[in-house]
């Protein structure tokens, strides 16, 4: 017997399947085709079945089903919350880039208006230098500075949202390295599902791809850490134990991602044990 999307064919003839697109899709999912005995559809059979009137009608009905399935799959994909988290954290990183770029350019412009201006010996970080430049009276310049300020506000708000969402979507990862860095890991892996399938060693160097490939190609030292360097226990660790901290943390993150993906709840026992293991790794020899 051959099972096709429109029904079953066997020695006795054709048994068309009647049902809504959802029923059809569910049935298609349940068909277990044996590829060794498989024969592709002859569309004429669907006509003989009384399922379609002609070739055109056959294709239209098939297309309807395929559209239904694809739309359902896409909707399903985009409703998983980690996908939105990924877009949010990418937007956040993009905002950082844009704000820095605009600020730098504005400073260059500001210097031509105020030749004596210099950032030396005054700790003028991005935010503070904007406050200084705000006093400029040039209309176009002032407007741009106001826009940069507005972007900074959006960034702050978005960061709060990212952290909050990460705490609910990936609670275990967030507890280990903080919501923002955890969200960046998910973003780099593509999705929580993909992150949960990665081994600890890959998580350790996520975000250090260029260093990893140059290591593989030319044998330069392997990278010790990628995105997880942003976590304080990694970048604050002494140089000689930093690699070890990164490795232990990454291994625990691999487990945390799996708990987040498959169980979707916080596991206090696991977290306690993991935090201790990471702290121990940082204590030195």
């Amino acid at each position: 017997m051959q099972s096709y999307w429109f029904g079953d064919l066997d020695g006795e003839g054709c048994h068309p399947f009647v049902g809504s697109p959802a029923d059809q899709a569910a049935r298609l999912e349940s068909i277990d085709t044996d590829m060794a005995a498989y024969i592709p559809v002859a569309w004429e059979d669907a006509v003989r079945c009384g399922y379609a009137k002609n070739r055109e009608d056959y294709l239209q009905k098939l297309r309807n089903l395929c559209f239904f399935i694809a739309e359902a799959k896409i909707a399903d994909h985009f409703t998983s919350r980690d996908i939105e988290l990924v877009q949010m954290v990418r937007m956040l990183d993009e905002l950082d880039d844009v704000i820095n770029l605009l600020t730098e350019r504005a400073v260059e412009w500001y210097r031509t208006k105020n030749p004596s201006f210099s950032r030396k010996y005054r700790s003028l970080t991005g935010r503070r230098v904007i406050q200084v430049m705000k006093k400029e009276r040039d209309r176009a310049f002032a407007e741009i500075i106001a826009d940069i300020e507005k972007l900074q506000e959006s960034r702050t708000r978005l960061m709060r949202d990212v952290t909050a969402l990460a705490d609910t979507v990936i609670p275990n990862c967030s507890a280990l390295i903080g919501g923002l860095v955890a969200a960046r890991l998910v973003s780099r892996a593509g999705s929580l599902e993909e992150l949960s399938r990665l081994p600890g060693s890959s998580i350790q160097v996520l975000g250090a791809q260029s260093a990893l490939f140059s290591h593989m190609r030319t044998g330069s030292p392997s990278p010790k850490h990628g995105i997880i360097f942003q976590h304080r226990r990694v970048h604050n660790a002494d140089r000689d134990v930093r690699g070890r901290v990164a490795r232990v943390l990454a291994a625990k993150l691999g487990i945390a991602a799996r708990i987040d993906y498959f169980r979707q709840e916080i596991d206090q026992d696991f977290l306690r044990a993991s935090q201790e293991a990471v702290d121990r790794a940082g204590e030195g020899t």
Binding site: I31, T33, V41, L59, R63, F67, I69, A70, I74
Partner: protein, 200 residues
């Protein structure tokens, strides 16, 4: 294939992805589409009006839309949700595209939907492109042709593209195919080779 003064075009309603028009035909850019590059290199197998095509790795439906202009029907398989949204939009306007959201490496899932095809066209970024091709050869008619756009960098970034091609050809001949023609798609696409093969 339709050429106007050395420009490859296809007949159909334009404005799919902002392609330029030439005498009411849609220009098919070889720098954008590997299949167009393949024809610009001046060779091989032409699309026929009554062809049924299985297109693996349909992506945003850019090349698919041109293939659909030339052929009877295209079964377009794509796995990723983001490009699938675009593919659906293209397929909504072109009645001879059947958009299938599925993993090309698991043909058993979409087998109940497919009819025998004249052309198996493949443009997937997967290390196991050859395995995918041979698993999908079951859909090819006996007289059918397979056209593989080999992304050597997706198979192995570290090896020499030439070695990857040679190895892929050997593996194809071991499976269900007889190689008819291979060529690099330079200068249009780097490290991409087209392999034309018939079914054994």
């Amino acid at each position: 294939m339709i050429w106007i003064d050395g420009v490859l075009v296809s007949e159909g309603k334009g404005g799919v992805y902002g392609e330029k028009m030439l005498r009411n035909c849609r220009i098919w850019d070889p720098y954008r589409s590997k299949l167009a590059a393949y024809y610009h290199k001046g060779c091989g197998h032409e699309l026929q009006k009554d062809d049924v095509v299985l297109y693996l790795g349909a992506a945003n439906g850019t090349t698919v839309s041109h293939v659909a202009d030339y052929t009877e029907c295209v079964y377009a398989v794509e796995f990723a949700p983001r490009p699938m949204q675009d593919l659906l939009a293209v397929a909504a306007k072109r009645k001879n595209i059947v958009p299938i959201m599925a993993d090309a490496s698991r043909p058993e899932w979409y087998a109940p939907l497919l009819e025998p095809v004249d052309l198996l066209y493949m443009d997937v970024a997967d290390p196991d492109q050859i395995g995918i091709a041979s698993r999908n050869s079951v859909f090819l008619k006996q007289s059918g042709i397979a056209l593989l756009m080999l992304k050597t960098r997706s198979i192995d970034v570290r090896s020499d593209p030439g070695d990857v091609l040679a190895e892929s050809i050997a593996r194809l001949e071991e499976s269900d195919f007889v190689i008819q023609e291979t060529m690099w798609l330079l200068p249009y696409h780097q490290d991409h080779a087209a392999i034309l093969c018939a079914k054994k």
